[in-house]
């Protein structure tokens, strides 16, 4: 009897202690330091930060700006102030390098699951605007990704348990961009429930500040881009471009622009500003300089008033640029352009203050992602291809005008006072027939070159798409001259050895993601070849 009581009591005590142990063990399971779920409002700033150059405790510099440092050389926006740089030579990334892999990282990791979760939890919480914005950014991201890399992981993307991944064709990615764009519009159109301007602004304060209408225009312009890129394809329809461009970003107020809090730490400042210190060795090229100083045959004798906003003068006070892979080349010291931070040609150092920096090269300068000006040039190209030269001319002139206004509004800081563009200067420029010719004389070359200027410094990704569509040196049928007039492509020792004499058409996927862990698929698509970067992409092929 006594034994039984002891047995029962002991058993009860044991069961009691086991269950309490289980509870204590369960309490220690969850991570007390970090969350597995955060409010969707706190995910969006980081996703937006990835447009340009991310900065998080888990990695930085994912985005367009870091890869833009190299793409900008391919399109001859800038070149290194010394010779022998493989990217000035249009080389692709080589060896164990992650160069040109920032957009890959942006898409799959930087935005990656953060964006997926924002959409998923946004749905759960009926925050339709966050869902719409998520899809909008994803559509943009797919398009940027494929334009850069061609075939990419799409159907199998974001499968955390998978070891290897198949690549999809670019055509399918383009179709997906449109499908996701439509989804984005569907949710951006959905009001009520927990969607509100005030709440969306918590997440996109440094982008559209909660304005879903602007996000819709962003989506329409992404769609316009996706149709515009196919100008060489049989399925190209200028009306599709026109339709979506008209619905898209048409005023500078609607410009898709990343803004910066500029609090003195790298994360909140512009990737090209002196604090982040990324463009110290880069100098404007002869090509952009000549387009704006009147030396280019297309705009011969025209001094572009935007030059002192976008470019740097030299000690002579003139605008000159360098040839890729030649360093200072034949330029005498007084003709050598300052760095984008206003330092001497040979100095790669970042100034402590950005007081003398201009344009997108200041710590706090907004960084455009898509501008109304670009949208107008897409319209102009589509109208011209359609045969509507008059509408093309209007759109073309609007593109230049919007670009001048944009510069005046956002980028007049540190521009020498005599060089500031007054309304008179602007109208004189637009009235110059060498810049805005009569409709009958308007050529694709005019449009592409003014677009090239308007996207200078930030829009190298889109400019690269354009230049590849024209295979860099295609002839404008109407004028018989090169579309990118006077563009001199690197040859001989100025063209990277691995290119085997060919120009660059794509970047290879990120090394430390694909070249170590996805070899089979890279082999299938030919990405192991040393000249993979010269393989033309589907979008630009006839």
């Amino acid at each position: 009897m006594k034994k039984n009581i002891i047995f029962y009591l002991t058993s009860i005590a044991l069961v009691f202690s086991f269950s309490s142990c289980e509870k204590k063990i369960d309490e220690a399971f969850a991570n007390p330091n970090a969350s597995v779920r955060v409010p969707v409002e706190t995910l969006l700033p980081g996703i937006i930060g990835n447009f340009v150059g991310s900065s998080a405790a888990a990695g930085s510099a994912y985005g367009l700006a870091n890869d833009g440092l190299y793409i900008g050389r391919y399109v001859q926006y800038f070149a290194t102030n010394s010779s022998g740089n493989q990217y000035d030579q249009m080389g692709g990334a080589t060896g164990a390098s992650d160069v040109l892999g920032s957009v890959w990282a942006m898409h799959y990791f930087g935005m990656g699951e953060n964006l997926n979760k924002m959409v998923k939890w946004g749905m759960e919480e009926k925050k339709w605007d966050y869902v719409g914005v998520g899809y909008a950014i994803r559509a943009f991201s797919w398009l940027s990704l494929t334009n850069m890399y061609g075939e990419v992981i799409m159907r199998e993307a974001f499968r955390p348990e998978q070891l290897v991944f198949n690549y999809d064709n670019q055509k399918d990615v383009y179709d997906t961009v449109r499908a996701i764009s439509r989804l984005a519009l569907e949710y951006l159109n959905k009001t009520g429930d927990n969607a509100s301007q005030a709440n969306l602004a918590k997440g996109d304060a440094y982008f559209y500040n909660g304005d879903v209408n602007k996000w819709k225009k962003f989506v329409y312009t992404v769609m316009a881009r996706s149709f515009n890129h196919l100008s060489n394809k049989a399925e190209y329809k200028p009306d599709s471009v026109i339709k979506y461009a008209l619905l898209g970003i048409n005023t500078n107020d609607d410009n898709a622009t990343c803004k910066f809090a500029n609090t003195g730490i790298t994360g909140t400042s512009n990737y090209y500003g002196p604090l982040r210190g990324n463009v110290g060795a880069l100098r404007q090229t002869e090509y952009i300089a000549n387009l704006m100083n009147g030396l280019n045959s297309r705009f011969a004798g025209v001094t572009d008033p935007r030059a002192f906003y976008m470019l740097r003068e030299n000690t002579n006070g003139t605008i000159r640029g360098i040839k890729p892979n030649k360093g200072a080349g034949a330029l005498v010291t007084a003709d050598q352009p300052q760095s984008f931070w206003g330092q001497a040609f040979s100095s790669s150092a970042a100034p402590v203050s950005d007081a003398t920096c201009r344009y997108i090269f200041k710590n706090g300068s907004p960084f455009p992602i898509i501008t109304a000006s670009e949208n107008k040039f897409m319209l102009a190209e589509a109208y011209l291809r359609k045969g509507d030269a008059a509408s093309a001319r209007t759109a073309y002139a609007d593109g230049i005008s919007l670009n001048i206004d944009h510069l005046n509004t956002d980028y007049s800081a540190s521009v020498p006072a005599p060089r500031l563009m007054t309304p008179a200067i602007k109208s004189a420029f637009l009235a110059n027939p060498a810049v805005v010719p009569p409709a009958a004389s308007l050529s694709l070359s005019h449009i592409m070159l003014q677009k090239y200027i308007a996207l200078y410094g930030f829009g190298m990704m889109e400019t690269w798409v354009d230049m590849r569509r024209f295979h860099y040196t295609d002839i404008d049928l109407s004028s018989g001259a090169q579309v990118y007039a006077d563009l001199v492509m690197p040859t001989g020792i100025d063209l990277f050895i691995n290119n085997s004499g060919k120009y660059t058409y794509r970047a290879r996927p990120r090394y430390n993601s694909e070249y170590l862990y996805n070899i089979a698929e890279l082999t299938r698509i030919g990405a192991i070849a040393l000249d993979y970067n010269t393989k033309e992409q589907w979008f630009s092929q006839k």
Binding site: K3, I25, A28, F29, N31, A34, A56, F109, P160
Partner: protein, 1035 residues
């Protein structure tokens, strides 16, 4: 609260079950062993009955028996004796030591003492006196060479350096391979700070660093070596199966000294040490600063040769100082009746050989053994420890590399402006562009840790009957570390704009664990049975508050307030004023069933059930078995009995499984801070795995033990084979298509095998002269037998500390491989040469270029005794194993290595041109190079060239010479019982084919996981030679 309830129950249970028996005649007596020493805790049982008594501390017992019954006297380590009760009322018994038992009793898992005879696995014991005699303040360093299968990898020779310990090689690829430390049955923490904080979600530094530039003591080194009675190393699987997943890499059991009588006894010893650094990487100093033969202001030495009149300073000599340390140990035993106390204290004060590198440790410990009544013994203890460590930076960023390439034209002592105290410029007007003068470095890039620790434990033994014993071990271990690490604003390792960085951290650890076991024994005829059940609860919590910032307002203070507020980064919870935490809780119950036949056949089975907080609910409860068989063949095989050749022969085998846990929270993908405009959160790098299951480790072991020639020679050999399946691989890379950069999976498998042989001999044992000899041989080999097919290489990021070489693991390769860049070759194996410049083409792929695993290691210990002199010395031999000599690569690129001495000799690199025909019609290279004028010849050399193959060493680790004074006429002071003086020399002799300073290198600290950074040399400071002298006395 619940815990206490449980404990109470388990303590009370056996007492309640204890049944009363009738009394007859009372018999008293004393049980003694050799030299008439009393044998305590001996069992006095009545044959055929459950009734029994135990001897007390004086060996005395009392028991009620009936006439004609037989008393059985038994105690672990002695041969049982039976005496029939006739008319006596006093029975004094002398027990003889068990012949097959030279080491006496061993402590096994759960603090259970066993006769080594019955163990089915290998156990090795090291005596505390041997440990103490080495005078090594970090006691783990004294174990190298003394235990077969134990490898110590010290981080460096700096004061306060950490050491990592590996038993039987590396099993886990990304988890810790360090054993569990258990002191008097209590699990005691041995973490080193791991500086990685994974974007602020972990418990590393806020600056989230990769364990390369600093070092943090491995905390078990807090133990005062003088408090150690002995150390038992449990290498085998079966031994650790009961300790569970925490001991999947083995366990080291420390038994501390305890007072044995209530008599007042005092021991005092001291030691004074002088250390000197004598081994350095070889450098070569003939050419001035420059490149390609042209003078230039840089830290490269490819300029013109020095002129005859150039004065060169011996900067290396000017830099280091003699290391000086002293230690004082005091021990006091006292007691009242059945309560014995031991109080011990120790002061250790070290000035390292590197300026500004100091280490101090203070230990105080009080332990007690109290007998309550006949059945209960209580053993409480408390230890208080404080350590202060002034640290300097090591490896990349440390003083060593800049010292090696400092221009000897410049007197190293002139490093700061005598007026302003500023860093003096050397080559650049910008101080941040010049390498830090080593003195500037150690005085300005500084770090410090202060640790306060308290460890308390309580042991309870209850032996209500002869057949039942209940043990409880309860321990609470806690410490705090306050530390900082500062880079001076003018340091080379920062850009001017950063203006100095300062890391501050406050770390707190608290761990509670208990084990309660109940053991029952029963003998039936020739069979003995033993059953044990037990439970274990573990709860360990480490908390960290860490902050880093830059733009220092002053270099006078090390408080985080001197950093600019907008630059401060903290660990995630620290932003809310809370600590980041890492908590591990584990509950287990287990049992053991053992049966033996005639004390010569032993069969043992254990099973442990665990539940751990790091795993998801569905995988949280797991269990694993262990079994062993031990046969005393010398007893079993009749002709061997009483043989002159084989006095003892045992064959044993064991088989066991265990599990290894993931890092807490590796099951949850979490968000870390986003610093872009607007703030918020972004996912961390790691794709955590909510499906994670524990790693499974299964081992079998075969062994045999011989005692030959009447115990003159003993030989023990063991083979083990461990299979680790479903290894938890944390932080391995895959395609970003996963949505993440790093991944977590149960992915790989490894097999780890080895052979251990120990040979001991009591060669001569005369009254005036004795010679003892012991040898520990160890050979291990291991292989990665499974890995995801697409993962060409998995590596521990910490090990990628210089150039392109790292501790990478490749399918089919050894777990200890070095992967790195090498030469590109054609199908014929010829090196390919770039036709443009005549230099070899480097293959930029991380392939296996070396294996760090030695062919074998051998420790040989000799002890001689002549009259009152004693001489002990331990040789440590390592044969084979490769080392990446990053220091050499660094010095070669800088033109300071002897490899560059013949730089003006024109040469043609042997190989064929990479001209597209290298495989069809190779063109031999004929391009002549003069390296002095084209120093890319040296910088282009791939890491393959700097992996030194088959590095051997012969090292005289510890040598002690001691003299014990005779009682008369030297010791006539009242009270003094013994007096001994000694001289101990550490690391006196090193003979090696390694070209660097010392092949015992480690690129990372003990805080690194997986295989870690042993075999990676990059600016590692070797151990200095140390001379210790002192005296030892007892009162």
């Amino acid at each position: 609260m619940r815990q206490i309830k449980k404990i109470t129950w388990l303590i009370m249970l056996p007492m309640l079950l204890h049944t009363m028996v009738m009394a007859q005649t009372s018999i008293k007596g004393k049980v003694t062993g050799a030299n008439n020493q009393p044998v305590s805790n001996a069992t006095v049982a009545i044959k055929g009955k459950a009734k029994a008594s135990q001897t007390d501390a004086k060996g005395e017992f009392a028991i009620m028996v009936s006439k004609g019954e037989t008393l059985v006297f038994s105690s672990v380590g002695f041969v049982s004796k039976e005496i029939k009760v006739a008319e006596q009322t006093i029975i004094n018994v002398k027990l003889t030591q068990d012949e097959g038992l030279l080491e006496g009793v061993v402590v096994t898992a759960m603090d259970i003492k066993k006769n080594p005879r019955e163990l089915g696995y290998s156990v090795q014991k090291v005596d505390g006196d041997d440990i103490q005699e080495t005078q090594r303040e970090n006691f783990v360093n004294s174990l190298q060479g003394r235990v077969a299968g134990l490898t110590i990898n010290p981080t460096s020779g700096a004061a306060g350096a950490s050491s990592s310990i590996v038993l039987r090689g590396f099993n886990s690829l990304s988890m810790s391979n360090q054993p569990l430390f258990v002191v008097d049955g209590i699990v005691v923490d041995n973490q080193s700070v791991d500086e990685t904080s994974d974007g602020g979600r972990g418990i590393g530094l806020a600056s989230d660093r990769p364990n390369r530039n600093s070092d943090y003591q491995n905390r078990i080194a807090d133990i005062n070596p003088s408090d150690i009675e002995n150390v038992t190393v449990l290498k085998g699987p079966e031994a650790t199966a009961l300790y569970g997943s925490q001991a999947s890499s083995g366990a080291i059991l420390i038994t501390t000294k305890r007072a044995k009588t209530s008599k007042l006894q005092l021991q005092y010893d001291n030691s004074f040490r002088v250390s000197e650094l004598t081994r350095f990487p070889e450098t070569f100093d003939k050419y001035s600063n420059g490149t390609n033969g042209v003078a230039a202001s840089s830290f490269r030495y490819f300029g013109p040769a020095y002129g005859d009149t150039t004065i060169l300073f011996d900067n290396v000599k000017l830099f280091f100082r003699p290391g000086i340390s002293q230690t004082h140990n005091l021990g006091m035993d006292f007691g009242i009746k059945n309560s014995f106390f031991r109080l011990s204290g120790s002061i250790f004060d070290q000035q390292g050989v590197v300026p500004n590198n100091d280490f101090k440790r203070y230990n105080l410990r009080l332990s007690n053994t109290t007998k309550i009544g006949k059945y209960i013994e209580l053993m409480p203890s408390v230890s208080l420890i404080r350590t202060d460590n002034n640290k300097v930076l090591r490896s990349a960023g440390g003083y060593m590399l800049s010292l090696m390439i400092w221009p000897n034209k410049n007197n190293i002592l002139n490093y700061e402006d005598p007026v302003t105290g500023d860093k003096l410029p050397l080559f650049s007007s910008n101080p941040n562009s010049d390498y830090d003068n080593p003195f500037f470095n150690v005085y300005n890039n500084v770090a410090k840790d202060v640790t306060m620790r308290a460890t308390t434990s309580l042991g309870i033994n209850i032996n209500p009957t002869s057949w039942l014993s209940v043990q409880g071990r309860f321990g609470y271990d806690t410490y705090s570390i306050d530390g900082y690490m500062r880079y001076h604003p003018k340091s080379y390792y920062l850009s001017a704009a950063v203006q100095g960085t300062l890391d501050n951290y406050w770390r707190k650890y608290a761990g509670y664990n208990h084990t309660i076991t109940a053991t029952a024994k029963k003998k039936v005829g020739d069979f003995s049975f033993r059953g044990m059940v037990g439970t274990m609860w573990q709860d360990y919590q480490t908390k960290m508050y860490a902050i880093t910032g830059n733009t220092l307002s002053t270099t006078e203070s090390f408080d985080s307030s001197v950093t600019a507020p907008n630059t401060r980064v903290r660990l995630l919870r620290n932003y809310f004023g809370e600590y980041n935490r890492q908590i591990l809780r584990q509950f287990a119950y287990f049992g053991e069933a053992a049966v033996s036949y005639k004390n010569m056949l032993f069969l043992n089975y254990t099973h442990r059930f665990e539940s751990a907080s790091t795993l998801p609910v569905k995988n949280r409860n797991y269990n694993y078995p262990g079994g062993s068989l031990s046969i005393i063949a010398s007893d079993l095989i009749k002709p061997l009995k009483n043989s002159d050749v084989i006095s003892y022969w045992k064959i044993r085998t064991s088989l066991a499984g265990t599990a290894r846990l993931n890092t807490p929270y590796s099951t949850q993908s979490v968000f870390v801070n986003n610093f872009a405009s607007g703030g918020g959160f972004s996912y961390g790098f790691t794709n955590a795995n909510p499906e994670l299951a524990p790693e499974r480790q299964s081992t079998y072991e075969l062994g045999t033990e011989f005692r030959l020639f009447r115990n003159k020679l003993n030989l023990e050999a063991t083979y083990y084979n461990t299979l680790n399946k479903g290894q938890i691989i944390e932080n391995f890379r895959l395609s970003y298509g996963t949505g993440f950069v790093l991944n977590t999976q149960n992915a790989a498998s490894t097999r780890n095998q080895g052979v251990e042989i120990t040979l001991g001999s009591n060669v001569i044992n005369k009254a005036k002269f004795g010679w003892n000899f012991q040898m520990n041989f160890n050979k291990m080999w291991n292989k990665v037998i499974d890995m995801p097919k697409n993962v060409a290489e998995y590596y521990i990021a910490d090990t990628w500390l210089y150039g392109n070489a790292r501790g990478g693991l490749v399918f089919g390769g050894p777990t200890t491989s070095i992967t790195g860049f090498g030469y590109e070759r054609n199908l014929n194996g010829d090196v390919l040469i770039n036709p443009a410049n005549g230099l070899p083409v480097v293959e930029q792929l991380f392939k296996i270029r070396g294996d760090r695993n030695p062919d074998f290691t051998l420790g040989i210990n000799n002890s001689f005794r002549l009259n009152r002199f004693r001489l002990n010395f331990l040789w440590d031999i390592k044969v084979g194993g490769d080392i990446f000599n990053g220091t050499h690569r660094f010095l070669t690129g800088a033109g300071k290595s002897p490899l560059t001495a013949d730089r003006y000799t024109p040469r043609v690199v042997k190989g064929v041109l990479k001209d597209g025909k290298e495989n069809t019609n190779p063109t031999p290279n004929s391009i002549v190079i003069i390296p002095a004028l084209n120093d890319a010849y040296y910088t282009n050399m791939p890491e393959e060239d700097f992996i030194e193959k088959n590095v051997n060493w012969l090292r005289l680790r510890d040598l002690t010479f001691a003299y014990a004074f005779p009682k008369k006429p030297f010791i006539d002071l009242p009270g003094i019982k013994t007096l001994e003086v000694f001289l101990t020399v550490n690391d006196l002799v090193l003979i090696t084919n390694y070209t660097g300073a010392d092949p015992a290198v480690n690129g990372n600290t003990a805080g690194s996981r997986g295989v870690g950074g042993f075999g990676f040399d990059y600016g590692t400071m070797p151990a200095p030679i140390s001379f210790n002298f002192g005296l030892k006395t007892s009162f």
